[in-house]
Symmetry: D2
Amino acid sequence: MNANSFGKALVLTSFGESHGLGIGGIIDGLPAGLDIDQEFVQSELNRRRPGQSAITSPRNEADTVEFLSGIFEGRSTGAPLAFLVRNNDQRPSDYDALKDVYRPSHADYVYQTKYGIRDHRGGGRSSARETVSRVVGGAIAKLLLKRHGIQVIGYVSAIGTISATVDKSRITHKYVEDSLVRCPVPDWSDKMLNLIEETRLAGDSLGGVVSCVVIGVPAGLGEPVFDKLHADLGKAMLSINAVKGFEYGSGFQAAKMTGSAHNDIFRIEEGKVHTRTNHSGGIQGGISNGEDIYFNVAFKPVATLMKTQDSINTAGHNVIIQPQGRHDVCVVPRAVPIVEAMAALTIADHLLRSKINL
Amino acid sequence: MNANSFGKALVLTSFGESHGLGIGGIIDGLPAGLDIDQEFVQSELNRRRPGQSAITSPRNEADTVEFLSGIFEGRSTGAPLAFLVRNNDQRPSDYDALKDVYRPSHADYVYQTKYGIRDHRGGGRSSARETVSRVVGGAIAKLLLKRHGIQVIGYVSAIGTISATVDKSRITHKYVEDSLVRCPVPDWSDKMLNLIEETRLAGDSLGGVVSCVVIGVPAGLGEPVFDKLHADLGKAMLSINAVKGFEYGSGFQAAKMTGSAHNDIFRIEEGKVHTRTNHSGGIQGGISNGEDIYFNVAFKPVATLMKTQDSINTAGHNVIIQPQGRHDVCVVPRAVPIVEAMAALTIADHLLRSKINL
Amino acid sequence: MNANSFGKALVLTSFGESHGLGIGGIIDGLPAGLDIDQEFVQSELNRRRPGQSAITSPRNEADTVEFLSGIFEGRSTGAPLAFLVRNNDQRPSDYDALKDVYRPSHADYVYQTKYGIRDHRGGGRSSARETVSRVVGGAIAKLLLKRHGIQVIGYVSAIGTISATVDKSRITHKYVEDSLVRCPVPDWSDKMLNLIEETRLAGDSLGGVVSCVVIGVPAGLGEPVFDKLHADLGKAMLSINAVKGFEYGSGFQAAKMTGSAHNDIFRIEEGKVHTRTNHSGGIQGGISNGEDIYFNVAFKPVATLMKTQDSINTAGHNVIIQPQGRHDVCVVPRAVPIVEAMAALTIADHLLRSKINL
Amino acid sequence: MNANSFGKALVLTSFGESHGLGIGGIIDGLPAGLDIDQEFVQSELNRRRPGQSAITSPRNEADTVEFLSGIFEGRSTGAPLAFLVRNNDQRPSDYDALKDVYRPSHADYVYQTKYGIRDHRGGGRSSARETVSRVVGGAIAKLLLKRHGIQVIGYVSAIGTISATVDKSRITHKYVEDSLVRCPVPDWSDKMLNLIEETRLAGDSLGGVVSCVVIGVPAGLGEPVFDKLHADLGKAMLSINAVKGFEYGSGFQAAKMTGSAHNDIFRIEEGKVHTRTNHSGGIQGGISNGEDIYFNVAFKPVATLMKTQDSINTAGHNVIIQPQGRHDVCVVPRAVPIVEAMAALTIADHLLRSKINL
């Protein structure tokens, strides 16, 4: 079944493994005539890339995107866009020791159980390297959204126990990218960096929260029942490796509020409908209302540690896993472009879907 | 597009409005030969029904399910099961005053913007009455799951600011149903009831959290990338009216933990693979690992208040909305069977999908 | 899986059995604001109805369509349209004798093999009564097409060995409906009627060909590769009970022509692009080119005979089937509205899909 | 939308253009553990390749398939299989003269109208070179079918006005491949070759008919209503470039037969259910009955001629098209592996779908 496809009007189908030939995908449903700014796509990939800064995995991947189809004289033709990002820095032998081991809180055991066969090299299909495909798809989606004045900005709002206070209305891509941890407030950013460094020394790992704001979405995107805009956003985010939770607008906090405090009262401003507050997070009844869309995505700590861990092997015997390989202490900063990508794909999908109703 | 369908192998397609003829749906993909226990389906509907207890809306709906197709001599035939639950207690005139008004934090404004036409009677398609279809679909899914030894138990874990402490391993349907608010711990249940009563007197409303445990899911359900089991569960839950957030396993708390504290260490118990802890919530890499699946769903407070509220009308003028109609102070207890239904549909969908791999 | 759904942008999901409660469906994806002319829908159903003329089955079904949702003040709302046509003239006991018998060239044997359970009453889900749902869906699609100036006209071009010569450019609905066999040329119509009468006396049955012209389709509908407009039309037609073949434009005859005779040479007429001939049948490379679309659909003879037939029973023993029940000698005239309905659904689906590209 | 995907359980998504970087695709839903015999896949591609014999286009493509993902130690892993076949012998400048011309009975005009942009080089996405992707997908499907004892054999049954008489029960792959035109009966094969040679000298082109037999399909594949096995086969075939018609079993001939002549009488043979005749073509009520499946596919003559032709250009002026480029007089022999591939994909899709019902 199409388990490797995302979207209904704009469809990304993904392929590839951590230590196979590469990662790629096909984007179907993209309208013709869109300028495909390949430099922009590459710049988005660079934001996701390992080895981009002192705090990320030293795996050294150029991650160069190659478009295989669907572009003619720089523009989309209506035909599917296929792309490939080759794996260069493969070191499958790094993983030989893990061939017969089920690493804790990885997908090793469930893959073996589900498929009866497992590409153990770097997690194979379960590796977060798969998200390369999402970032390319999301970059194309962003090009479409840009034409409609829609902007997606993600940032790190928490790492481990450090939660930043961030004024959503002032965030820019520049503020985010100026921070090594992609937290737009320098003081908080520094605290997060310190925590990451401490944790590295302890051989341990960290999770965190990526927040995201989508600006400029017109009212009317999303569908009333199952394909609510936030339901599709939620699925998009939860499908990213290591994500454990999703909330939009007031989120889990809403559960503690009374209706009179929570309701967003309408008002007319410069002849247009707005709300005084935005607990709705820009979405009411599953459909965008023209206010900013915002949401939070919780990531668990990285499962690979630089410590020994108890585990079992495929024969069911107890084993001790020795630390090895190349890993981030905290992937949350690198998850920002992935969260943005999935948001862009979701919004672009609904933007195209909304045209059918016209 | 199929915005009113849920699932890929087991597909529920839903229809109906709050004050139309009724609510119904079609279930496609159900294997043949399943005993359709119509009394059980009705009992599930009764759990969702308004007017079932002192704390729910006085709308008086018998909510009797009528199956229209797909059953022969009490068993499924492989043909689609269609069903209809007629609306009886319709009072569309109750809503005349709201015809030209956009109620705060309702879907009135977005529907008008999206469609240019709006069935204002009780919210039309945006009404939570739509969930009748989910509960019937979920009941059929539960019958399928039961044959595979899988059980879905939802309960209320928080209402407003009151969060119950619940031992997941001891919950039973009976404990849940014995509580008017569907919180299985009597002390916490009483506190919640008190809060609901206080809030009713104040003309205000409440949100809360529904938690859910799925027991007996075999390892191997779910797909690696976009259709991760928890991503589909998340979409299922977020598609329910008033839901603002979803988390599974350790959820948002995971973001604050270190990897060494969070990792679920494997162990062999009676010859089978288990984990010492279950922060994974029964799902690793998007695929069930055989442990209990558990998750939380946050509901915002009911948007309809028994207080006056500022708003605007369709002409863009300020208006004051007077309280009227029949409404729950807190829908969270009635949301329990809906959460269970969507969980059952999702698990059943993946159960059937997993057969393709055999 | 969604085996009972047709279409991607405009989706008809169908349910019901010959001798169950009724036949119905859900239409999803219909744009809001369309006037739903229920009298027109009923008139289409009447064209399909048994008992409508001397040459059709005496089963007496009122076939009254009841809309269950999706319409407000006479117009579509963007919510799914559900409908139900109740079975009235059920005589399941007519079929008791066939309970354990596999009728030749019916679906009895394959249903039993596939599902292990079978609703034998009138063929259950395999009955052509299922097409009631298609006709209602098609009528709604025709209302949408009409707004875009598109008209679908089907007619009988052959019954048994009698093939009519018909000038496609002169066919009107009136000419078609004036003929009991729905052949628009009176002389041919009379010959067909005589053949049907002869065949009835012999206790035998007939097949035939339904042809169809779609006028006013703009250039640009259809997709380049798998979802070619004629591929979707072909699937639509082949999915109708008793259909054995589909051809469009020059069809099977094209295989015998040379390229120089077959190519449709472009010309400019009144400033617009046209072709001198239309062997393409209005579709080139899978995409409509603005010329009339036309195609032929072959129907096999009715499998139920008013003669004894050899067969086997479910125990594998030889049996002789006695003639019984109520059956058409030739269903081809009644198939005309069904062919039109499936054509209308297909064209409307692609009309909506084409909006995504804008 | 997913216009470039085929299948529901086994999904081929295709990409690529005639003169772009290459042609490829992603196969999703393939069960894990299947031996991927890459030599077999390559041999299937070789059967489709231009330049393979004296009667095919001299375009010289190695057409080497490269698998990009989804295979580990020679077997499928359950992850998507991506593949790429690079275009080598691209001569886009061959097509410069056609840049502003609409070739008769090609897709030039409709692409321009639909998309407003057109990759004119060799037809871009509309080129039959796209079928490379189908052949690779079909080869993988054949590997799956082989494991279930199912074999797909296509052959040429007519070229132009020459229709061969072929005994379906005696066809083998060897007989087919021994013929340059893939007609398994040497006498007919010779006549076809002569006709092709005559037509080449005249600068004209030919169509024809590919027939196909599928042996070993178990009873029970296919779905009752819209996804009838022959409806999906029909769509599969009609989606191939240049196809104008599809018929299965008795096909268009059925329309001329009486029911008593057409009905397939059941009989028991060696304890198994069979039919005396097979007008049903192995499919009853849309579901396979265990007999051989057979069908015919009509191809129009090649639209590119080695003669001058009248046409118009994009400015709407009359032009004369001069013969150029490299083209087959008749593509029907090369269409045989494509027809087989689409049949294999369709049967494999339904084979996997049937598992859900178990």
